[in-house]
Every structure is written in C-alpha cells, then in structure tokens.
Amino acid sequence: MTRSFLLAAGVLLPASLLSLVVALAWGSVAIPLGELPRVLTGEASALHATLITELRLPRALAAFAAGGLLGVAGALMQVLLRNPLADPYVLGLSGGASVGALLAMLAGLSMFSVSAAAFAGAMLSTLIVFGLAHGTGSWTATRLLLTGVVVAAGWGALISFLLAVSPTEELPGMLYWLMGDVSHARHPGPAWGVLVFVVLAALPLGRTLNVLARGPMQAASLGVSVRPVEWSIYIAASLITATAVTQVGAVGFVGLIVPHMLRLVFGNDQRVILPASALAGGILLTLADTLARTIIAPEQLPVGVITAMLGVPVFLFLLYRSR
C-alpha cells in the first residue's frame, strides 16, 4: 500500500503542477514559461499579468478542482454500488443538475443563478433517488443503481423537451452547458475547499471502503457499520458532484474513467485510489480545458468533448494492456 501511495504521489503531484503551468502558458496569447515567475514578482507586462491572474489562473484552478471532485465522486460511487460502471451521472445527478440549469437559462437568469439552479437540481435528484431506492423493502446496491438509471432517463427526456421548446438563440449556450463549459467558472475557492476536505476525510475511511468493496455482509462481519457508511458515501458523492457540476456544467466521463485508469496502474486500495482520483481527475480536466480553448482559438470547444477524446483512447490502451 505504502509503495503504490508513494508511486502515485510521485507521478501525479508533479503532473498536476505541470498541467496547471501548461494551462497558464497556453492560449490565444502564448506566454513564455520564463514569464510565469515574473507575474508573481510583478515584473511581467500588464497584458500577461491580467491574462494570468484574471482569466487563466481562476479558470485552470476551477477546472482542476471540478475534475478532481468528479474523479473522487466516481471512485466513491463505484465502491458504494460495487459496480465498475457506476458514476454520479449514471445515478441521475447530472440530469437533475442539467434540468435545473436549463430552466434557469430559459428564465434568463444570471450565470450565478444558473449554477445555483444546477446545484438545486442535483440535490433534488439525489433526494428522489435516495427516497425511492429505500422504498418499503430492503435497500440494495442493485435497487439504488436501477432507481438512479431510471431517474436519469426521466431527466434525459425533460432535457430533450426543454431543448425542443427553447428559443433558437438560447440553444448554443444550453448545449455548451450540457457538454461541459469551464469558461464561466471564476470562483474556484469553494470547490477547492470541498475537494481538500473530501480527500482528507476519505483517507482514514479508505480501508473501510476496501472492506465494503467485498460486499456488505462480509464488511459487517469485519466490523463495518455498513448502512451509515453507505449513506455517508452516497450523500458525500452527491454533494461533491453537485459542487463540480455547478462549476463546469455536465462534464461526463471523468468520474467513470479516471478511477479505472488508476486501478489498472496502482491496484485497488481506496487509500491510494481516492486521492489519486482527485489529482488525476484534476489533471485530465485542466488539460482538456486548455485544449478546448486553444484548438480552434479564439473559438472554444465544450470541454466534455475533449475529456472523452483524450480519455477514451488512453483508457482502452490501458485496458488492452492489462491482464
């Protein structure tokens, strides 16, 4: 365990820094690497200083935090449901968030209100799935998964309906939001706070999650209070996802693929996988967003398109090479 932890930290921490540096240096105006330290000392040109401190740095930090949150949420959901296909999106969270955001856009509200509506939508979806999965009978992972998938399908229909009745000029903004959009993220502070808190809280819980991954009965016989732990994971993963979605819209795929990539490389100890998912998810979304705003600059692509285009080949390559 200690070896994989150090290996993961040794690879991912420098890679995280590198991804942030790349995000600062690349863009419609390329800034030489040597210029970056001068921004700190105040010797850089006014244009570069403004570009970095006002635009690129908040955006890069927001992308990193949101990616990290999505990675951790995916890792938690996969343990909770003991299903490698689980991620917060499968459980209807992004659907609820999207419906909230689209309604706010239709009403012509500000970007801040759109974020708030997305958060409310995600939490509403959580409550619906939470309440219905409990039902009158016993609570099982399969039941939670099925409830989530069906609720997600319901949100999907609502999203299509909202897109169909929306005025044409609203559609590009809505589609961007649905595919993920970091360009409006300016205040990464709360997301970072949540990310740091969750990783610190998850570390001591990691071994319990390892045991829980063997099934609820086995976990209970090894001293785990299964029900409280399971509900805590579900609520935590929901809050994490809602926070991420509020920042960057409905970026799919990070929560599904990042934890699996890491498992293929570092094994399946949650004490390694959870913090590693935070870093790797952050790296993926930061790099993806940098590409999204540079490939066809000055136009921008939805970041969700890039995460999929980067993630799919890397994941398939790792899966193909694994035993």
Partner: protein, 280 residues
C-alpha cells in the same frame, strides 16, 4: 423403518441435551428463534457453546443453517430470543468489538473489485486497526501465516478472480484466520474442496477450536465429516424442529433419516460410524 415412521420415535425434545451456560461459555442462545421470511416459528434454540467445542449444524437445504449463522454473527435480527457472546448480549457490542471476537466464513464469495490473494487475507486485520493505521509488518506476517496454513502461500500475488472455487474457499478461511476471532462460524467451509483439503481444513478448524478459549460452529452437508470432526451437533429439521447435543448422542440413524428425508445405510469404518444414502 421408513423415515416417516421414525418421526414418532425421535422427537426433538427427547434427543436434545441442554447444557446451562457457565461463566466460561463463549456463545449462548436463549429461546432463539431465527427469522426465515414467510416461515412459521421454528423451535427455540438454547445452545451453549463452551471453549474447546466444535459444533456442526446439519440439516437439509432451506432448513435455516445459514440464517442461523448470520443471526449468530448479528448480520440479521432474530425473530425472538437473545444471543450472548462471553456473557454479554450480542447487541451491546460494537461492530469492531464483535468482529474481534467472532468471525464468519460465508458460503458465497463476492468478487467485488480486483484484489490479490494477500490483500484479501489482509482485510481480516481490519477490526484491529484504527482509521489512520496502516497495516504493519506483523499484520502482513499474520496474513501470510494464515495463507500458509491453507496451502495458498505460493500464490500471494495472484488475482482473486483467477482462483478456482476451492482455492477461493480456502482463501476465505485464511481471511478469518487472519481475523483470529474467539468464536469461528463457518458456512459449509468444505463444499468445494477436494478430499485432502476437506480433511486438512476441518483438522485446522478443530485445532483452532481446541485452542485457548476458542470454539467453532460450522454448517456442514456431509454427515460423515461432521461425525468425524465435530464434538457437538445441531440438527435442524425441515419442519422447524431442532435438537442438539454431543455428537455420539445425535447420530441416531432414525433422526438423520428424518432430517434428510432419506433412507440411510449405516456402517462402521476405522471404528467410526459411516452413513450412506440407501438407494433402492
């Protein structure tokens, strides 16, 4: 005598040997009725498992053997009655405390996510570690030693999903050996094992039960293995009746015939009684 005739002769109450719990008793049930959904109440159990004892639970499919073991491990609530572990009510113990004193080997083994053989055995140390603790060299050594006792020491690095059914069953036993509880519950620990490993696993279980302040309770399908390795037996009849006591008093052919609804031929091999199904 047909199994049906035996019913009248072998009433559960006449066979049962009740032992009152003492200060040494590890596991005791009082008027315990297990909860099998949509089944009438079975007869209350007053089991007393003392140190050094190795109990076998015999009964046909669906008689409630697994349900009883799960109830004893507080994985499901009883319908009535109570259970005491070393004199304390089971419900008063915290889960980790319970897991340090009582361990259960399940009949079915979940795959979950990929894990190596050593990692799987090592989770037996979970109840002993505080949240921030990392497994120490001693924990790993305990897991390695447990793997060696079930002949799995050569394949510590193998992925669990590449193991055979029997190897996986032995791995589950190694995990509970790493857990090192006072009371060992086993749900059909030999169902997938070859002959040699059936014997070696049951010898190991009996050896543990003979240790200081230890005991084992296991559900078994093989009457002959139970007769050979268990000193006490609990018979769970399909109609909800039950009887229990020292093995020699329980091995009444008529009772076993009623238990399985199967005519038996009885013989003696190496001085031990042997029961085989009689096929017309």
């Amino acid at each position: 005598m047909s199994p049906a005739d035996a019913h009248a002769d072998v009433s559960a109450a006449a066979l049962s040997v009740h032992e009152a719990p003492t200060a040494d008793t590890l596991l005791a049930t009082r008027d315990l009725v297990i909860d099998i959904p949509e089944r009438a109440d079975s007869s209350p159990l007053h089991l007393t498992v003392n140190p050094g004892q190795c109990w076998g639970i015999l009964g046909p499919n669906g008689a409630g053997k697994s349900t009883l073991l799960h109830t004893l491990a507080r994985l499901r609530p009883p319908r009535a009655g109570g259970i005491e572990l070393t004199g304390q009510p089971l419900g008063s113990l915290s889960r980790p405390d319970l897991a340090r004193r009582l361990g259960l080997v399940f009949q079915n083994h979940h795959d979950g996510f990929p894990a190596t053989v050593l990692e799987t055995a090592l989770i037996g140390r979970h109840p002993y570690l505080r949240p921030w603790d990392i497994e120490t060299r001693e924990d790993v050594d305990a897991a390695r030693a447990a793997l060696a006792t079930v002949d799995l020491d050569g394949i510590e690095g193998r992925q669990v999903d590449t193991l055979s059914g029997g190897e996986r069953q032995r791995l589950a036993l190694a995990t509970v050996l790493t857990q090192d509880p006072q009371v060992l519950l086993l749900d059909e620990p030999t169902s997938q094992l070859d002959l040699h490993h059936q014997v070696s696993v049951l010898q190991r279980v009996r050896g543990i039960a003979a240790g200081e302040r230890r005991a084992a309770v296991m559900a078994l399908h093989d009457v002959n293995l139970a007769a050979r390795f268990c000193d006490h037996l609990l018979l769970m009849f399909p109609d909800g009746g039950a009887c229990w006591g020292p093995t020699r008093t329980m091995l009444v052919p008529a009772a076993l015939e009623r238990l399985y609804n199967q005519a038996l031929s009885v013989g003696e091999v190496d001085g031990h009684p042997v029961f085989l199904p009689r096929v017309e």
